[in-house]
Symmetry: C2
Subunit: 214 residues, 2 copies
DNA sequence: TCATATGTTGAATTTTGATTCATATCATGA
DNA sequence: TCATGATATGAATCAAAATTCAACATATGA
């Protein structure tokens, strides 16, 4: 590398590294960190075991690189959607759509991502907390800000904006899982999510009857 | 055992088994299946390694027993709530409340449960699919039936009832996680969940302006 | 009290899989 | 073409953990 122009060797190195990561991603997302051996990754990526250790100092390091790399793609994609021009609803819609898009394009990664952000992260001794989870919380907070702004403008009702963000995120994830389990029956669609989230579920008039309303 | 009355030995056996499961649950939920050794479980439960194999044929079997046993408690608790007397909203409220209660009482189990039902089940080669997940789907379907009944009575709007169930489930899980991560800031409360789920989030009048409504 | 059955133990064995490193292969430039 | 350094290989090593089993303890009841 001479100021900015990577040499062929360097490009090769990076490409090889990328190939390994991609293969590992597929295997991990299929069977989980502990049920995939370095030998398998080596065979599947057409390298020798020893070579893997030229790229990553150990299995955990490989996994970490994988997760962090991809989480950056996710994160910037979602954040970009939230900075889109438009009113609050348009931002939120863009965000839901971006999420669908990026999830669909990285389906292998999603199971691992959700396991790390939502589930209990048992794969790595420590460390993804201080990266993926933080990034995830930044996103949630930014989404909350959009809700808050909508509330200030009296477009949304006065709910805790952070909880709204959590709720929307929860619905999205739930639909995503549903889609995984049954892709044909449940297309994964932004309007579906937004409709259920934003429209009142009660029929007009019925809501006043119940004790839910303050 | 002579028709129904378990002998002392049998009660001992069952109690010991239960103690092992309880210990294992704590350890697994803390550090995950693969990061807990049989020796640790043995030490913590005050048995010898060998003894564990008198109760369970191997580690995976122990884990499976653990998950299935507890999932039954969960399941029957949620199902009972849905069979409560009352109208649709009352059933749904009862269900959300039951979920909160049973989750709080089995916090150790919850992380594992969610990992298995929502995340990818990487711990067990195969088998929990055909048990926990099925039970979970039965619950979802039953919840969907309640929504459907509400829709027939024109109390709820015409959404796909199954998707409503998925959405409510998703919100509940999301709030649960939030509560885990920040117990003081986010009390885990049924009304909160139901409010966000059932009340329109848009201010009156604002909804008509947007392109969301059909 | 003793013989038998039943339950418990944990050191020894086996398995699994991560990691290493001496050797082979390849690319480069003299 | 050959020497040299860089890179790739995978059999051998090592460590961790699952599983086994011969020996030990304890309870039962004749």
């Amino acid at each position: 590398m001479k100021n900015g122009k990577p040499s062929r060797k360097e490009r090769d190195y990076l490409r090889h590294r990328q190939e390994i990561l991609q293969t590992a991603l597929e295997l991990f997302s299929q069977r989980g960190f502990h049920n995939v051996s370095m030998h398998e990754i080596a065979t599947a990526s057409e390298f020798a075991v020893g070579s893997l250790y030229k790229f990553f100092s150990n299995k955990e390091d490989l996994y970490r690189a994988l997760m962090i790399d991809t989480s950056k793609v996710f994160h910037s994609s979602l954040m970009a959607a939230l900075t889109t021009s438009g009113n609050e609803l348009e931002k939120i819609r863009a965000c839901v759509e971006a999420r669908i898009k990026v999830f669909m394009e990285n389906i292998d990664y999603v199971r691992l991502y959700l396991a790390e952000t939502r589930g209990a992260s048992f794969n790595i001794k420590a460390g993804l907390d201080s990266d993926i989870k933080i990034r995830y919380n930044v996103f949630l907070q930014k989404l909350a800000n959009v809700f808050e702004s909508g509330i200030r403008k009296k477009v949304f009702k006065k709910f805790d904006p952070y909880l709204l963000a959590v709720a929307l995120d929860g619905i999205s994830n739930a639909f995503l899982f549903e889609h995984f389990n049954n892709p044909d029956k449940h297309p994964f669609d932004a309007s579906l999510i937004l409709d259920i989230f934003f429209q009142q579920i009660y029929e007009k008039g019925e809501m006043e009857k119940c004790n839910l309303v303050k």
